[in-house]
């Protein structure tokens, strides 16, 4: 092994990479919340919808959780133009990630719904709470507490997943690393720094989520 690491050249690009990381976080944020809204509707539909709605939600979830997000986005980018729909790469990636995370978040949020036990609602009723009050004071805090950890984990997962945007020319963190490496011989150093930035931003995100969880939802989250 005669390769010697030289990070000097690669660290010159740090500000450029950090700019990419900011875009990664933005895409991750949008993909998560877009998916969370779809997931909420999906979970509601699966719990309380009629047979048709439930069938549709099921088909959506089963399809999107059993096929790769990357190929889903390939389909959006290369197949949709054949029927006259042209999506810019950024939007194709974002829509693909949102549809993908929506499927997973449907399952996660439904698990939260089913964790509310009838006895808790009965207890709220015996305390004289109205339906709205029991939803406000019993159901939502309970679901938030149950869902916080899986949602936090999923958030980290989706931030890492945004790296596939690079394949479609989006200049987020991985995309910028690829850009640098095509004009620079210190490829491996660039990708090691990129990996370190991913570690840093997900650790910070985990810490922030743990703090929110502890103070907002009384969840004793394990950060590591």
């Amino acid at each position: 092994m005669d390769y010697t690491f030289q990070f000097g050249e690669a660290t010159r690009h740090l500000p450029y990479l950090l700019g990419g990381a900011w875009l990664s976080l933005q895409i991750g944020f949008l993909a998560f919340w877009g998916g969370a809204i779809i997931g909420l509707l999906g979970a509601l539909g699966k719990e309380w919808g009629g047979p048709v709605v439930r069938g549709l939600v099921n088909a959506y979830v089963v399809f999107f959780t059993n096929t790769p997000g990357l190929v889903q986005i390939f389909f959006l980018v290369y197949a949709l133009p054949e029927v006259g729909i042209l999506l810019p790469p950024y939007w194709a990636v974002l829509i693909g990630l949102i549809l993908n995370s929506g499927a997973y978040l449907t399952e996660i949020q439904r698990a939260g719904f089913t964790s509310v036990r009838r006895t808790e609602l009965e207890a709220a009723e015996t305390l004289g709470m109205s339906l709205m009050q029991s939803v406000r004071y019993v159901v939502i805090p309970h679901i938030a507490k149950v869902l916080f950890a899986p949602l936090s984990n999923f958030y980290i997962w989706i931030v890492l997943g945004t790296s596939m945007a690079a394949i479609f020319g989006v200049e987020e963190l991985t995309g910028r690393a690829i850009n640098i490496s095509s004009s620079n011989f210190r490829t491996i150093e660039v990708f090691i720094i990129t990996a370190a930035i991913y570690i840093a931003i997900t650790v910070v995100a985990s810490l922030i989520l743990a703090l929110i969880g502890r103070h907002g939802f009384r969840v004793k989250a394990k950060i590591f």
Partner: protein, 229 residues
Amino acid sequence: MLERLISEAPRFFNYYNTVFLLQAMGNTLLMTVIGCGVGFILGFIIVYLRRSEGLAWLPVRMVLIAYVETFRRIPFLVILFIVLFGVQGIGIQVSLFGVAMISIAIIATAFISEIIRAGFDSIHQTQWDTASAMNFNRLQTLWYVVLPQSWKVILPPAFAFMVMFIKDTALASQLGVVELTFAGKILANRGISAILVYGTILALYFALSYPLTRLGAWMEKRFASPGNH
């Protein structure tokens, strides 16, 4: 559009393309299974070493914890690039398929070791104490007492992780590994309708993943039921 699909379909699903796609599908499954299999073995070794005692082993434990914590926070695509350029930098000959397998194993080791650790932790400390009071060493305790009790806790999530990773291996197409997604790209570049090609690729991933997902769910349910030793 429908006419185009119908007219192209027979040409697309000819003998050679079908064999090509099925081989690519086999490669997707193969690298996932081997990568995760290696990850399972290494993950087990990591958990074993993390249970070591004494100050002498402290540096080893710290390195292993750092490994597990960091490699669960790096995207698979970035790992693929690091391994690719890493083996090139060292100057050893590894096929692209090999690079993909190594990358899968690196990530799988980190995730599966956490699954195994949780499985071992599910065995009550008293079982460990009892065994050590009877002079079992750590390996004997694991082999005779802990593993037989914890595999039912370990296997379903480890299997689910592997099924999950089938989909992530699509990213290996970026290196040029001839797996299912790369096969799709090749066929699409030949001018065949992208709807037809990527629709088929999605269907093949589904055909691979869905039965395994169901199998995993069945396994989890079965193992959760008490009374089988």
